[in-house]
Assembly symmetry: none
Homo-oligomer: 211 residues x 4
DNA sequence: TATGAATGAGGGTTCATTCAT
DNA sequence: AATGAATGAACCCTCATTCAT
């Protein structure tokens, strides 16, 4: 029984990508050498180039996977006839899910792309803005349906929503914290959504002495 | 009348730092060459080394300025006997102020440091965590005084607060948006604080009979 | 009926050599990659190594064909009891013939070998000098028999003869000019020989009273 | 007395160019490594790049010098109201002169450019054709004035003329022959011109037994 | 203080060649 | 005979840093 050469290729590609994820996470994209990646993948130097045209191509492939997942989710979310809070929860869970299963991928997305102008190509910026726009769409829907307050620009609320979410994941990335099981994940999602919707103010004992 | 040599040195150093800010903003720290910075500052690149030991030192000095300001603020904030929302507003305004007056500095802080593991030294991580801890202190104070809800970890609320804030500034950085005057700045600060405290949910149409 | 395996081998070898000729002509020997040659021949690049030990071996084989033909001609020429101008015409026609039927081969000979020290091995230099010597032999014969002037070194006349010839072919190679039929070929040969023998000076208007 | 920095730069550039000439002559352009050139020039690796942008730039500069000289000569030749044989002699002498004083330069011109398609850029081809055209102009003038036979295309005579000349120099290049003094140079020039004008046929004893 | 020539380690990429299948 | 995955030496170029002036 021979191995299917196409599968074999896929497997090797994935192995290289995984190795790249580990190395880039550790050293950053710039300081990650192709030799490091090859060694990490347990293959020779030149073989990386058999599968990926350039180092940049490697990053692009990695990011492509991320974006494919993210835009896929946004399409599903749009299609599903759920209410707005449920849609927002989906977005939160996608990021947390991604982080749970591919922490290196999320790390790289956050450290190398979402903030770094150094690696920001036009294509990447467009994708980024595209994702922002889709999120804003949900926020606008919420405002239109009266679920979300409309005394602030949708754009502002979008920033705040995604900012909270990203800060969470970033912080976990920064301190290498793992998500322990689905329970914790749900709890975090709940916190983010709840605070975004209802705020951090304590409503029960709302008497502020110095107010 | 000769110029004071110490002042003269300061002036030149600042000129180099400003040039560095512009170049790093444009190309990212890694791709910013010492030659670029020297040319931007209008001096020979050998001279940069008279004022700064290494390229890394340049970045360190730039970041030092940022952190000095931030920790100075946090000290003031701590000292001032204000209530918690006021303290939070101070933090927000410091970031927006910084961005207003030194957009490049904030940009670099956000793109090169707050997210990139590549340039993350132990020292930087410590400062970062230190700032987080000071912010969390304010949050805890809010929970203790009953101003902020305590059904979530203070750590979570801190993430959400700083995340919203950072997302705002980052987004402005990303699209090169300028803050037009203090009015807009106050308004943005108000939005962030208001949503953080009271949430994005529309309370007018909520089923609150006694509203 | 199976194909004769030896013939089969020959056919494949030739296919590779032809492909190599085309690629080397287009990109030069150095820039011609084994992969290019394989693709041009419609086979995998590993297979090239079944037929030719190295890239160098490929070139050697190509050149060998050329030299075999050339030395074969020179032997014939020597054997044939023709007069000197006839012998010179033979040499000219051989080159033009070769160019007519194997322009790529002649191109490579001229661009990669006859001039480039880069690809000049001892063996190649020897063959080159050998050909020069054989040509010079004809020239000397001409001088001895009183057909060619002997107020110049035979070596000089040889240079001039081969130089004219080579320049013609080179120029055609350079501009990718095709030889259109035997007529044009004969005419070119005639021009070269005529000018070599009688010079470019216009004798009609020359003051030769007894003309 | 300080050295003029501009002069100093010129001197260093020339030193590098001379080193490059030697190395390229020995190994061919392709096999000449920048490291070889640096070592040959007695300087560090990186310094070559201080003076020349790329390896290609080095070659371009070398060739530029050659072409500048050649086109300069052609302009002078055109301007001088000499007769056609004198003009042809000038062209011959320029090449022989160049070879006498810069044998490596001529070698590279001949081996890397005049024949190699590998290094043939559009710009180079244009210059080459330009030189051919200028030479042809002289030939046409000769035909018009009745000095040269007009029963052959001017283009053909041009090939033959330049071919003879080039073959001479090439042959000397190939066997590393030096031109010993101006006397030999004049003699060679005379030979080439004489044979080109009057042919190789022995007119004195023009009786060819087998004719 | 100021210049920019000089250094050289480092890294991305290419490609001839080998080898397992 | 045939494929193409695998290897790794080689080489161009960049650029932070040093140094002579």
């Amino acid at each position: 029984m021979k191995k299917n050469p196409v599968d074999s290729r896929r497997i090797k590609e994935s192995a290289i990508l995984e190795a790249a994820l580990r190395v880039i996470k550790k050293k950053g994209f710039h300081k990650a050498r192709m030799g490091d990646i090859a060694r990490e993948a347990g293959i020779s130097y030149g073989l990386v180039y058999h599968y990926f045209k350039t180092k940049e191509d490697l990053l692009e492939t990695i990011l492509g996977r991320w974006w494919d997942g993210l835009f896929g989710l946004m399409a599903e979310t749009r299609a599903a006839g759920e209410n707005v809070p449920e849609k927002l929860r989906r977005i939160i869970l996608f990021l947390l899910d991604s982080y749970q299963h591919h922490p290196n991928l999320v790390n790289i997305f956050i450290t190398e792309i979402s903030r770094s102008t150094a690696n920001l190509t036009r294509k990447r910026l467009e994708r980024f803005k595209g994702f922002m726009a889709l999120t804003e769409e949900v926020i606008v829907e919420g405002q239109t349906k009266g679920v979300l307050r409309d005394d602030f620009k949708a754009r502002y609320l979008t920033y705040i929503f995604l900012g909270s979410l990203e800060a969470f994941v970033s912080a976990m990335v920064l301190v290498n914290q793992k998500i322990k099981g689905d329970g914790q994940k749900e709890k975090i999602a709940e916190s983010i959504l709840e605070v975004f919707l209802n705020g951090a103010r304590n409503k029960k004992k709302a008497k502020r002495p110095g107010a």
